[in-house]
Symmetry: C2
Subunit: 424 residues, 2 copies
């Protein structure tokens, strides 16, 4: 060992990142665990743990089981040393959560919102909801360390900016700058469906999978792809545009994007509502006609409700919707070959007919080798997936190699990251 | 530092893997380079380099440029300390190459072969070609360290076995066991197109890209997807099945897989040949009719040749072929959002009309945000891509974390890896 300029980073930042990674996910809880799971030598693990304890990020709490010799001390991330703000902006709602540094949601609230009201109005509401949530909690959350947020449309993740939003007022808007200036902490912004998929990976059905496709069937249709346990965003952040997979050559099927035959023009909540209302008007379904007479319009949830109460016309709509989704997913299966497809979004709750139609359509159109062990399931985190994912994204970024290196270089103890280190 | 059981692996195996990774790709050539590029401390880098020199894997050779103080010694991987065997098995050919430990091809040969002759016959020829190649070289290659091989069809990469080959005689055949038993070294087997894409990533147009789609237009059509600089194989090894992306609902377009509308049934060399011959018989093209009269049949290369010599009918075929390929690639662009699409395989040499048709079709059917910076190019390593990729795969696996950890644990100096450590 020469008289190194960085005595505390022996073995590289990678050691601390590896230790934090094990501890914050609860995979290792003692020094011997850490040695075994990371393959890093005992001495280096001991030094790394000492450094993390010294910086207030890790603490000992009691003694674990002995495996022969002296019982090892239990270690844990001091997840309450700070908190994260997680925001999930949808087309018709905004959800806000407070999470600890391990990314666990500790408080959550949600209200209807209109994306078309523009970014300032929607983010002002998110600020207010965060203040209410933080104020109503008696627990001490520590400082705010960072913010994770999901928004609809294509996002330039590195720039924290909307590049192809579904509503013009969000075009080119820097969600990151807006939130960072207001809160003074680093902010990570991603597409809403990517964030939902991350939630599923961390706390839902995708926990034990490495390669996952997420299909969000809401008013519109979106997708996300997880490769090797990580979100695949693509070169421009527009990967997994499931809604714009072309499944028909019929020139009469025009998508809101201007092209023909997109899945989003042949399935999804808005398609269900439109067709449900048409069939009600045409007198094809007395149940839907009743809804129309009473409420003045038919929504996707009305079609789901009618289908589950024996309305054949509604059931046929749900099945057709599922078949179209399956067409697009079959292509995705041929390209991505996931081990799991998660069906999320409001329309995913439309009953088993939907899932059966999706499955049938995928199996009929995919290579047998690709569907042999393929699991197709409904989301298990449903409404909370977005904020769980946004919190996980912020936690992952805060404990990523680049940021840990910054802390070490700065020589400052762990604490609230400075605004100066915002650049991705 | 406690009296660690592994004094030589301080900072973990990761340090040595990181140093080897820099050195074998020529990214760092001095100790200060290594410190700067890996972020690992000076002392740990010095110890790691000393260990690699001691094991005969790295050597000093001369002195680099000074940046103020004493000029640093130049370091290099002793790539000639051993060699790799790279094999590229196609449907109609077999190519064999000898590469150094850095994965650089130093000798290469190729001959026609028939995949349908079965694995024993084809691999016997590969053995013979390797013996000839090794014997004819005056240079000293050192011991054989490992084998990389690409074969057509779906491969279970971890098992080294064909799971969905285009020819029944290869079904379930363990290419890995066959080669490992004969040569006594570790073997890595992947799909032929994956290996070609890896060649492009290492030595071709994809060098500066992280997210790449490779389309192989040969007799059949195959694909490969590179995500974050690494091959994406999928849960069952069947990712990127470009040939079986459905682009038509016409029930008369039946693919050899039994399903309808697959790209492979509407484009590719075999489609060009079949349609060229039909048009020759129908008297639509005098050029193709001449070919048919002279040779008794029309091949894809004849259609390319006629197209480049002014035959309108052949040109129209090439354009239609390109348009269909573009339809399928547009879907892949929506899902993967690559920064580069590489067009390889024999049919890729069919002239600029083909590339123009592919481009036009992709642009017309993809999201504008996904094609804004998308590059679409022909392969630049062409015939050598397969063996370059197979050699790169073997080199990457030999210097991967798991294997380096094995060397260190065994306490043996670097040298020919033992057969006992074959399991993936």
């Amino acid at each position: 060992m020469d008289g190194s300029a960085r005595p505390s980073t022996e073995g590289g930042v990678d050691v601390l990142v590896a230790l934090l990674d094990q501890l914050r996910h609860g995979r290792a809880v003692t020094r011997p665990d850490l040695v075994q799971r990371t393959g890093i030598g005992r001495g280096v693990v001991s030094k790394g743990v000492a450094e993390l304890i010294g910086r207030g990020l890790v603490e000992e709490h009691g003694t674990g089981k002995s495996s022969g010799g002296r019982a090892p001390r239990l270690l844990r991330l001091r997840a309450e040393a700070g908190h994260l703000l997680a925001v999930d902006v949808g087309v018709t709602s905004v959800a806000v959560a407070i999470a600890d540094l391990a990314g666990r949601v500790v408080a959550h609230t949600e209200e209807p919102a209109d994306l078309a009201a523009g970014p300032e109005a929607v983010l002002d509401r998110a600020d207010a909801l965060y203040r209410e949530l933080a104020g109503s909690q008696h627990a001490e959350h520590g400082d705010l360390w960072g913010i994770g947020i999901g928004v609809p449309g294509v996002v330039d993740f590195r720039a924290g900016r909307c590049t192809a939003p579904p509503v013009p007022s969000w075009e080119s808007f820097s969600v990151r700058d807006r939130l960072a200036e207001r809160q003074g902490v680093p902010v990570w912004v991603d597409n809403e469906v990517n964030v939902m998929a991350l939630g599923e990976l961390r706390a839902g059905v995708a926990r034990d999978h490495r390669c996952v496709v997420y299909a969000k069937l809401g008013t519109w249709i979106g997708g996300a792809v997880i490769v090797d346990g990580r979100l695949h965003r693509g070169a421009e952040g527009s990967a997994a545009e499931l809604g714009h997979v072309r499944i028909s050559d019929d020139p009469n099927v025009v998508c809101r994007c201007g092209r023909i035959g997109c899945l989003a023009a042949l399935a999804g909540g808005s398609w269900l509502a439109r067709n449900g209302e048409r069939l009600a008007r045409e007198g094809m379904s007395s149940m839907l006609a009743d809804v129309l007479a009473r409420a003045g319009r038919v929504e996707a949830t009305d079609v789901s409700w009618a289908a589950s109460h024996g309305d054949h016309v509604s059931r046929a709509l749900i099945v057709e919707n599922g078949r179209h989704v399956g067409h697009a997913l079959a292509v995705v299966v041929n390209i991505v070959n996931p081990s799991l497809i998660v069906i999320g979004g409001g329309v995913s709750q439309a009953g088993d007919d939907l899932l059966a139609a999706i499955r049938e359509s995928i199996y009929a159109r995919s290579m047998p080798v690709a569907t042999r062990n393929l699991v197709i399931q409904r989301t298990t985190v449903a409404g909370l997936g977005g904020v769980i994912g946004a919190a996980a994204m912020a936690a992952d970024e805060i404990f990523a190699r680049r940021r840990v290196a910054e802390w070490l270089d700065a020589g400052t103890p762990a604490g609230r990251p400075e605004l100066a280190s915002l650049a991705a």
